[in-house]
C-alpha cells in the first residue's frame, strides 16, 4: 500500500519534471552551477556534489573546533565555572553569520555571469516554441531554488553542530532547541540577504548600464564585491569586541552582519540596547534586497536577454597606445627572449581577463588590503606622532604583508589552469628542454610587486623619516620580496595556467604550514626586527647571512635538479605508489 503510494508520488513527480518548464528550471540550475558566459572553461568545473560539500565544510570545521571552547571538562580544567553560554557564544554566533554571508556572497560572485540567461541560452531556447516570459520564470525559479539550496548547504553543519556544542553545557533540551532554531534562522536569513545583495548589484548594473559597458565594468565590480566580502570576514574578530563597549560606534550600524546578530540576540531576549537597535534593520533590509533584486532582474532581463539578438556579439576596443608603450619599455628592460615577451603578455592578460584567476587574485588582494589596513590602524593606536607611527613594527610591516600575500597568491594562481584544451599551442611551440618558465614567472611576480614597493615605500618614508631610513626600509622590503619569489618558484617548470591542477600530495600540508610560518617570519618578525634596528642601521647587517642563505638554498636546489625534474610539463602526474627501480638501466 505504502509502496504503491510512493510509486504514485514518484511517477507524478517524474511526469511533472519532464514538463518543458521544469526541464528549463533544471537546465538553468545546472547552468548556474556548471558555468555560463562565453568560456568553455574546464579549469575549475567541479561537480555539484563536490561544490556543495566544499561549501558546507567551513561551517562544519569551525563548529568542531569550538568543542575545545565549550567542552565542560575543559572549562572545569580552566577553572571557568558558571559560564553563561549565550554570552560566550556571541562572538561565535557573529562569526557564523559572517561566514554564511561571505560564503553565499562568494558563490553569487563566482556564478555572477551564470545567474542571468546568456547568449547561449538565447540561441538555444528562443527559437523553440517557448515564450520569453516562460524562460524568465524558469530562470527565476532556478535562482530562488539555488538561493535556498546554497543557504541551507552553507549553514547545515553549523545549524546542527554549533547548538550541540553550545548546548552541551546545559541539561535542558529546550535550551538546545531554542538556540538551534534562532541560530538557524539568523544564519539562513543572513545567507539569503548576502545572495540578494550581490544579485541586486548585478541587476542594478544591468538595468542602468548599456550592455557593452556592463560587460566591461562587471569584472571590476566583482572585484569590489570580493574585497567587501573579505573585509566583512575580517570584521569577525573586531566587531564582537566593539559591541561590548558602550556606547558602540555609529559605523557598526553599517555592517549587515551586525543586524542579523542583533536579530538572533533579540529573539533570545539577550540583546542590549545596541543590538536591539541593530536588529530592527535585519528584516526590512532583507525585504528591500529581495525586492531590488527582483525588480532589477526584471529590468535587466528586458534590457539584456530579450534584446540579445539586437546587441552586437563583438565589442572591439583598440588597446591604448599607453599600454603598447609600457609593453615596449618592459621588452627593452626586463623581457629578453621571445618566449618571455610572449609569455609575459599571456600571463598578464590571463590574470586580468580570466574569471577564475581574477577572482582568486582579487580575494588574495582583498585579504592583503584588509590586513594592511589593520596594521595601519594598529600603528596609529597609541602613537604620539606620524613619525613615531611610521617607525612602528606595524607600519613597517605593511609592504611585507602586501608583498607576501601577492607573491604567494600569484604563485598559487599560476597553478590554476586556463582553457587547458588551448595549451596545444605551447606544447607545439615551446621547447620543453629549455627551462625558461621559472624566469618568466619570476619576472611576472617581480614586475607586479617591485614597482609599487619603490613608488610608495620610498617616497613616503623619505618624506616622513628621511632618505636613509627610506632607502634601508625599501631595500629590505625589495630584497625580501626577491628572496621569497625565488623560494616560491623552486623547481617551477610549467608555463603559468597551462598545466593541469596539481594533485594532492603528502607534502601539501607541510607546504600550507610553511606558508603560515613563512608569513610570521616575513611579515611579523622582520618588521619587528627592522623597527628595533632602524635607529642603529649597522644592526641591519645581521640580516645579510640570513639573506645569503635564503638566496643560496633555491639556487642550489635548482642546480641539483636532474633533466627530468627540469623538463617543462603540461600535466601533473600523480605520486606513484609503486615505482620500478630500473636496476638494469
Amino acid at each position: 500500500m505504502i509502496a504503491e503510494a510512493i510509486d504514485a508520488v514518484l511517477f507524478r513527480w517524474e511526469k511533472r519534471r519532464q514538463r518543458p518548464f521544469w526541464r528549463m528550471v533544471y537546465l538553468f540550475a545546472a547552468r548556474i552551477f556548471r558555468g555560463g558566459g562565453d568560456s568553455d572553461a574546464e579549469g575549475l568545473d567541479l561537480g555539484i556534489g563536490l561544490v556543495l560539500t566544499l561549501l558546507a565544510m567551513p561551517g562544519g570545521f569551525v563548529s568542531i573546533l569550538l568543542l575545545n571552547k565549550y567542552g565542560t571538562f575543559l572549562q572545569w580544567l580552566r577553572g571557568q565555572a558558571n559560564v553563561d553560554p549565550l554570552l560566550v557564544a556571541l562572538p561565535d554566533e557573529y562569526f557564523f553569520i559572517v561566514l554564511s554571508m561571505t560564503v553565499t556572497g562568494a558563490v553569487a560572485v563566482w556564478r555572477w555571469d551564470a545567474i542571468f540567461p546568456d547568449r547561449r541560452d538565447y540561441m538555444n531556447l528562443v527559437p523553440l516554441p517557448i515564450s520569453t516570459r516562460t524562460i524568465f520564470l524558469a530562470n527565476l525559479v532556478a535562482v530562488l531554488f539555488l538561493v535556498g539550496l546554497v543557504a541551507i548547504d552553507v549553514n547545515a553543519a553549523s545549524c546542527l553542530l554549533f547548538p550541540v556544542v553550545v548546548g552541551a553545557t546545559q541539561s535542558k533540551f529546550l535550551f538546545f532547541l531554542k538556540f538551534a532554531v534562532v541560530h538557524a534562522l539568523g544564519v539562513l536569513l543572513a545567507s539569503v540577504f548576502a545572495f540578494f545583495a550581490v544579485f541586486s548589484v548585478i541587476g542594478l548594473l544591468m538595468a542602468v548600464l548599456p550592455p557593452r559597458t556592463f560587460r566591461r565594468i562587471s569584472a571590476y565590480m566583482r572585484g569590489v564585491v570580493v574585497v567587501c566580502l573579505v573585509a566583512l570576514l575580517c570584521t569577525s574578530f573586531a566587531v564582537p569586541q566593539v559591541l561590548r563597549y558602550m556606547p558602540a560606534p555609529r559605523w557598526i550600524a553599517l555592517i549587515p552582519s551586525c543586524w542579523f546578530l542583533g536579530l538572533c540576540q533579540s529573539l533570545r531576549g539577550r540583546a542590549g540596547p545596541v543590538l536591539t537597535e541593530l536588529s530592527a534593520f535585519a528584516l526590512p533590509a532583507l525585504a528591500i534586497a529581495a525586492l531590488v533584486a527582483l525588480c532589477t532582474y526584471v529590468l535587466g532581463y528586458q534590457r539584456h536577454f530579450v534584446r540579445i539578438a539586437e546587441i552586437a556579439d563583438t565589442s572591439a576596443i583598440a588597446p591604448s597606445p599607453r599600454t603598447s608603450r609600457m609593453g615596449a619599455l618592459l621588452d627593452r628592460l626586463a623581457l629578453r627572449t621571445p618566449f618571455q615577451k610572449a609569455g609575459f603578455r599571456f600571463v598578464g592578460k590571463t590574470l586580468l581577463r580570466s574569471e577564475t584567476h581574477r577572482l582568486v587574485l582579487t580575494a588574495v588582494g582583498g585579504l592583503a588590503l584588509v590586513l594592511a589596513s589593520q596594521a595601519l590602524m594598529d600603528a596609529f593606536e597609541g602613537a604620539k606622532s606620524l613619525r613615531q607611527a611610521a617607525l612602528s613594527a606595524d607600519a613597517l610591516s605593511i609592504p611585507f604583508i602586501l608583498s607576501f600575500l601577492i607573491i604567494v597568491g600569484l604563485r598559487m594562481v599560476f597553478e590554476i589552469p586556463a582553457e587547458l584544451r588551448s595549451n596545444w599551442i605551447f606544447q607545439l611551440m615551446v621547447d620543453p628542454e629549455r627551462q625558461e618558465c621559472e624566469g618568466l614567472a619570476r619576472r611576472v611576480i617581480l614586475i607586479l610587486v617591485l614597482p609599487w614597493l619603490l613608488a610608495i615605500s620610498l617616497p613616503v618614508y623619505a618624506y616622513l623619516e628621511g632618505w636613509k631610513v627610506a632607502v634601508l626600509h625599501t631595500l629590505l622590503a625589495i630584497t625580501w620580496a626577491v628572496l621569497l619569489t625565488n623560494i616560491v618558484l623552486i623547481r617551477f617548470r610549467k608555463i603559468p595556467f597551462t598545466c593541469t591542477l596539481p594533485v594532492f600530495k603528502q607534502h601539501s600540508f607541510v607546504t600550507l604550514l610553511s606558508c603560515c610560518f613563512g608569513f610570521l617570519l616575513y611579515a611579523v618578525s622582520t618588521p619587528e626586527f627592522e623597527s628595533s634596528a632602524l635607529p642603529e642601521p649597522v644592526r641591519m647587517l645581521s640580516l645579510v647571512p640570513a639573506a645569503a642563505a635564503l638566496w643560496f638554498i633555491p639556487h642550489y636546489l635548482g642546480k641539483s635538479a636532474n633533466e627530468i625534474e627540469r623538463r617543462l610539463i603540461f600535466e601533473e602526474s600523480p605520486t606513484q605508489t609503486i615505482q620500478a627501480l630500473r636496476l638494469s638501466d
Binding site: 558566459g37 568560456s39 563583438t314 599571456f346 592578460k349 596545444w424
Partner: protein
C-alpha cells in the same frame, strides 16, 4: 622532404595507426582521407611532434624530427581539428602571442597580422575577444596563425570546418598556391570534393592502416570511378542511399 617511416601508435595495447609510411615532397599536397577513428588525427599529431610514435620515425630532410623538435616546429604551420583558443584574448592578441612565440620580428609581425586580418575579413573584430567569435572566425584565426611565419611544411586537419563559402574558396586556392610555391602540404579532411580539387596525392586510411596511396588521378583510374565512389568502395560497405531512405522512414514514424 617529410617522411613517415613505419609509423605505429598504440594507446595502451590498442593500435591507432599501424606501419604507416609515406613521403611528402616539396610542391606536393598530400590529402589524407579516412572515416572517423581511422587514425587521421593520431597521424597528424605524430607528424607535428605532439605525439611520439610507439614505433617508427618521422623524418624531415633526413633527420628524425624528435631530435630537434623546436627547429622542426619553426618550419611547421599547423591547423588543428578543433579551434581551441584562449577565449579571453582578442584575435589580434592571439596572433601576436603566436608570432612572438615563433620568434618573428615585432615590426614585421604587426604589419603581417594587420594585413592577414584584413585579407581574412577579420580586421573589424580584431580587438574583440575570441570568446565572442563564431566558429568560422576562430578557424580563420587558426589559419592565419599557421601561415603567418611563412613555414615550409603545412599540416591542415579539417581546415575548412565552419568557414563560409568565400573563405573556403580563398583557402582552397591558397593551398594550391602553396603547393605551386614548393611548400609541403599535408591535408586531412572528410570532404572528398575538396581533397579531389586541392590535393595532388591522396592517402586513404582505414582502422589505422593505409589502404590506398597514389595520385588523385591514378586512384580514380584504378577503379574507374570518382574519388567519392573510390573512397566508399575502399572504406565502407554502406549503401548510403538506403540509409538516407531509412532515416526518412524513422522521421515519419509515430508512436502507437
Amino acid at each position: 622532404m617529410l617522411e613517415a617511416v613505419h609509423l605505429t601508435k598504440r594507446y595502451a595495447s590498442l593500435p591507432a595507426v599501424q606501419e604507416l609510411s609515406f613521403t611528402l615532397r616539396p610542391g606536393q599536397v598530400l590529402g589524407c582521407l579516412g572515416p572517423n577513428g581511422s587514425g587521421k588525427s593520431t597521424t597528424v599529431k605524430m607528424l607535428t611532434g605532439l605525439l611520439q610514435p610507439t614505433r617508427g620515425v618521422v623524418r624531415f630532410d633526413g633527420h628524425n624530427i624528435q631530435e630537434d623538435l623546436t627547429a622542426y616546429r619553426k618550419l611547421l604551420g599547423y591547423v588543428p581539428e578543433e579551434a581551441h583558443l584562449y577565449p579571453y584574448l582578442t584575435g589580434w592578441e592571439y596572433l601576436e602571442l603566436i608570432g612572438t612565440l615563433r620568434g618573428m620580428d615585432r615590426r614585421d609581425l604587426a604589419k603581417k597580422i594587420d594585413s592577414l586580418l584584413q585579407l581574412f575579413s577579420l580586421h573589424p573584430s580584431r580587438h574583440a575577444s575570441i570568446g565572442s567569435y563564431s566558429k568560422g572566425m576562430r578557424q580563420r584565426i587558426l589559419l592565419i596563425a599557421a601561415i603567418m611565419d611563412d613555414p615550409e611544411i603545412f599540416i591542415f586537419d579539417e581546415p575548412l570546418s565552419g568557414l563560409d563559402v568565400t573563405s573556403a574558396l580563398i583557402f582552397k586556392n591558397l593551398v594550391q598556391t602553396l603547393g605551386q610555391q614548393g611548400k609541403l602540404v599535408f591535408y586531412c579532411s572528410h570532404v572528398l570534393e575538396v581533397v579531389e580539387k586541392v590535393c595532388s596525392d591522396v592517402l586513404i586510411l582505414r582502422k589505422g592502416v593505409v589502404i590506398a596511396q597514389d595520385s588523385v588521378e591514378n586512384i580514380g583510374h584504378i577503379l574507374g570511378q570518382s574519388l567519392e565512389n573510390t573512397f566508399l568502395h575502399l572504406v565502407d560497405d554502406v549503401d548510403t542511399m538506403s540509409v538516407a531512405r531509412d532515416i526518412v522512414t524513422v522521421m515519419k514514424t509515430k508512436a502507437a
